[in-house]
Symmetry: T
Subunit: 142 residues, 12 copies
């Protein structure tokens, strides 16, 4: 059984109530229910963590060392400046799939640069809430 932790960064708790044209109208709780059902069918134990505090995410990453096999991480805007998050992912031996709901490459200029990507296994960006199931689908096939 694969153990997968989804990590959502700052402001992603606002999904469903914020900029619906960019991020869709479903809350993450609704999205998560679908993901769990997919996980259940593919021998994946799914868990979920969200924080608006960079350091709490780092704490969670450290604490996952023996209990998680894969991260699916949507770092929110930390994507663009949090070298601390970069270092945290490097400090544990867990493959991370970086996801972004919007296409970060066709928005403001500063969104096109990720300081997380160099330590991610790969990046999925721009398919709305589908980025989470794509990441899960990828992990299920490993």
């Amino acid at each position: 059984m694969k153990r997968v932790l989804i990590i959502n960064g700052p402001n992603l708790n606002m999904l469903g109530s914020r900029e619906n044209d960019v991020y869709g109208s479903r809350t993450f709780e609704q999205i998560y229910r679908d993901l769990e059902s997919f996980a259940g069918e593919h021998d994946i134990k799914l868990s979920y963590f969200q924080s608006n505090i960079e350091g709490e995410i780092i704490n969670k990453i450290h604490a996952s060392r023996d209990s998680v096999d894969y991260f699916i991480i949507n770092p929110g805007a930390l994507t663009h400046y949090s070298y601390s998050l970069h270092d945290a992912l490097k400090s544990v031996n867990i493959a991370a799939v970086e996801v972004h709901m919007s296409n970060i490459f066709s928005r403001e200029h500063w969104r096109s640069k990720s300081v997380i990507s160099p330590v991610a296994a790969g990046v999925i960006s721009g398919f709305g809430e589908k980025v989470y199931s794509l990441a899960l689908f990828y992990i299920s096939g490993l």
Copy 2:
């Protein structure tokens, strides 16, 4: 009645005891008392929040969605890199007035760039503690 929340970012709890030549010698508590008196006269309900933790400020912004009409925000040094704060302000439907006590355009080079300004209604920079009353005066006139 207008509901206004003043948000002060990192290190602004040190007002009055830090770099007095730049920031003046009054603590924010002293400044706040004057602001409250102005607010009282202009049908404004004023409240105040300070944190040195970026994510706590984001939490506060989210939590203000139904209880606040305007933000007056002095992001401290988060001004210059916190895209997470930028996204937080965008995620709620509350006009924000960005204020800086010092003139950020005539200090170190990196202080002249704000990543918050693009999502602020406007910016007031460089009049010492008066930036708060200017922001309040502006809101009182809306």
Copy 3:
């Protein structure tokens, strides 16, 4: 009694007839009438100057040396390249409040840089015609 001179730079004579979505629909003459009434109540002697010619503004700044206590200056697009205006303000001993009706930080990239700010007492940007009364309010409290 405080003597305040409002200086408007290039194209600001077009207020009210130009890009109303950005600058509002009132002419500066209409705005000025309100400012005068505020000034009258606060022991401020207000005067006003507009020119589309950079050098005439510089002349006016020089000529104000003994007759003006504060400038409120909206340099228009000179904001972004007129080092001569920068030097003119530096050459007299009069505090200048720099104002912009639109939020120059959320428009074209080149508008976010001001060569005037380093010699201004402070900057107020993005509150429409209110920037003038905010500046006046600030001066009235000195």
Copy 4:
């Protein structure tokens, strides 16, 4: 039935015989067979095109206007400079999923910039040959 065309750019005909540490040891023909079997199960009509010549890829994109619903495109190194490919994708009304087998964000500096991404629906980068099935999985769910 969805009609999907996979487009592979320059040098991708060398898969399986080139830099196996980066791109894996399977030829694209082998990969394609698996994709076809997935497609068959999901009511997708899959086709495939590869060329080392930028203009031939543009020709193919134009010619697909009435016969294709989705592109899965791996532009190879054209990713980094072919504004012509960018324009070609914009000139037809077909959603394109951009894929890269390697994580382009953790290799040479110039590989981290894509001129294609702004006109892609989304980007999947860094999961080896799995990027094709991820793209297909995404399309199957639309």
Copy 5:
């Protein structure tokens, strides 16, 4: 007696279990024991603080104002973007020695720039765990 506070930033709690080739195999607790013994011999009262949360470090810095004479600070990746930490150090009157276990000047390009250095008394970078004892040795000689 000199009072010295060692502050370790994000991810430094992982010392000994993370990237041993870069950071060595000892935990900070082991390192700290040696430092304490040195401190004991040189009339230094040593204490220690670690957090992954930027704002908690700032809080600690503020709280140290009357109880600490020198900081030895390893800001981790905050080194490269935390202007808030920069401002926090400036807001108290305590000399800070900035240390880095790896040579930040011979790693990724972004690691060679420190936003903390301008407010540090000095910088020691690249001698592994020895940077802490070097800093202590320096302070002991003041």
Copy 6:
């Protein structure tokens, strides 16, 4: 009848007597006579304005609001820095054709950037005095 105003910026009064290898040997008066004859045949009322003073050109643009249908503007070196001219053209509702006698893209590096182009209908550069008749020919065909 179309009303067209040709505006020539700084130094263009020197045509015919200045750098003949770059700008040709005819004065603008000679050029203008030919343009008038073309205009006469195409139901165009042509007029002409030249100034070396940026602000006078802005004044002229403002004053043209009800009496001119098209501008043909050769901003001279103001092309490269006059954001005030940019704003002036934006402030009136008159289409402007930007012309340059020399090919500004094959001279000094700074000449290849125009701050006027973003608000021009189009740009004609590099055909000597013919740029004026090309602009007129274009307008005549509207």
Copy 7:
């Protein structure tokens, strides 16, 4: 009799069916018919070439050495990176008029730089399909 070859680069075969708001609704064949009629009246022998393949355009340029007097070239997106096209134009002794239907200076940032302009006689940008007749009009007057 002047011999003029119009060269259209990548994606210009899509005229009339692509992004009509930017490029108009007429196909190039329709545009060309009007150009031929103008050419017929001005002793110009007009011919036309389009390719999506950079190298084929270069081949055509070389082959035109003895049979063409002027090029009218719309390089499409090759404008922005094809130094090979730059060199091809330099390698033959034929004056080239560079044209762009849209105003390349008021679109995406990368479109404002042309690597072709330094070897063109002049540039006409932003008048829709009229850029071709403007170029022809210019040549007819030589």
Copy 8:
């Protein structure tokens, strides 16, 4: 007899009353008297022009074509952006000596770049009011 025109740009009329630590305490009229006496002894006919208006300086340069042999020009802050002044100097056949009273290379960063220098015979910067007599001394020796 050599005819020399001294041209002073914006704000130089303020000499003697402005930033005395940088520019000295003498007015230009006082300085000029000394220069005239030197000129008288060296068969030089000296004249003088100052304006705060860029275009008036350009007009003066044009008008000097037949009556002046050498310019001594202190462009003030126009030094840093007035390409129009650059072009004006190029449009007449008169050697220009560029002077600056302060050492423009050791002040703000933007002051170290002159757009005038490429068309000046030479540059003298940083010797206070002596730059004028140095220029005159140079011309007297030609």
Copy 9:
């Protein structure tokens, strides 16, 4: 016996008829005859390929995998932007000597950067047609 393929990129078919001051007056056929005679004496089997089409060169490189030991490649202007060519050379196991007839480091700025060099064994630039025989001489000595 060593098998060497000379690959010439865009516009090199014009040698002898193009910009003789830069590239000399001999056609490549004339140059090649001399090279063949040198090759004959040194047990080298020489062949030759030229194309103006980037993708055809890539095809040729792929096709050479079992029949060529060394490339001598003059990529023409592809030198400066063709990352596809870069990848093609990396995808085969054949040492490539990069040659340029002109000194690319003393011409236009953009010519001084080669995207091919990082995957070449070495570079020879600036000795006219001699660069081919130098490359051959080098290979003959291996």
Copy 10:
């Protein structure tokens, strides 16, 4: 016994007589006496070399190959541009500790970049003359 060579670069012979506020008032001879006494107690054989000539320092580095175990090098301003010194250190197998008396990160912008650091074991900057004893202390503990 460890053999340590201290290398001081250009202008460091002026210690004690130059910019005392930055570098202190002791000559290096005085500093050296203290270092020798420390060395004596720690089984270190200390020697010293100073030159203002870059090449002589390189010669000394080469000549040290068999007689020195560690360098303590203060390259002076060579720090910022001497790639030759960089290469010299790389060409011998001797660990080098780079020291700077002033904090090079809080002075002029160009001083914050060291071309030496990438080949140094570590860097100590900003503790005045103490940087030498810190380096020695570090070596003594190896």
Copy 11:
């Protein structure tokens, strides 16, 4: 009596035999004779030093501390990179006039930047051999 030392940097020993169009045809010995005669008349004791070795110039600057009142320094190409020379001039208390025979602002791009200017009293550039007498004339008037 004023003691003035002229310092010429690398390659200036070649004056008179090198690039006469740029530097004139007189050797420095010839130039020096004229300078000496001027010096004689103005109570100036002139001496002269040239070296192609950066460090020897630094040695000379140090050695001049008690025997020289003013430097006239032409650093040659050291102008553009020798921070060591910058530091040397700063380490002694002697005013330095920086001179360049050619106008360094109208030649190659890299020549327009001087790392020496910030520590020079002033700069004279572009009047051929006259720059030396201009500097002497300036000093004579102090």
Copy 12:
């Protein structure tokens, strides 16, 4: 008879004992013997100079004016910053072939820029010790 001087810059005296993977294991003396034998057969008089001191190389270049026909110069790391060497080569009328043993274009970023190339006849980089014989072969064929 052709007279050729080989000039080797800083650190090249370490050949054979330094970084053998990059530079090979032979000393330059061994390499030189082979070059002399080639020279003997081709009527070339070969000589050799090495120095770690930039100024001594410049002296040697000057002194070669009447005794040398060609330079083969390997500037070592001076390649990347010695504008003085650039000027020295320009000051004599001797063609210089610039050589580098390693491929400077595929190493650290700063090694890809040569300030010497613009004044060299050509550049040979990346063939190990063969670069010297390639240069000699080229000269022998002139």
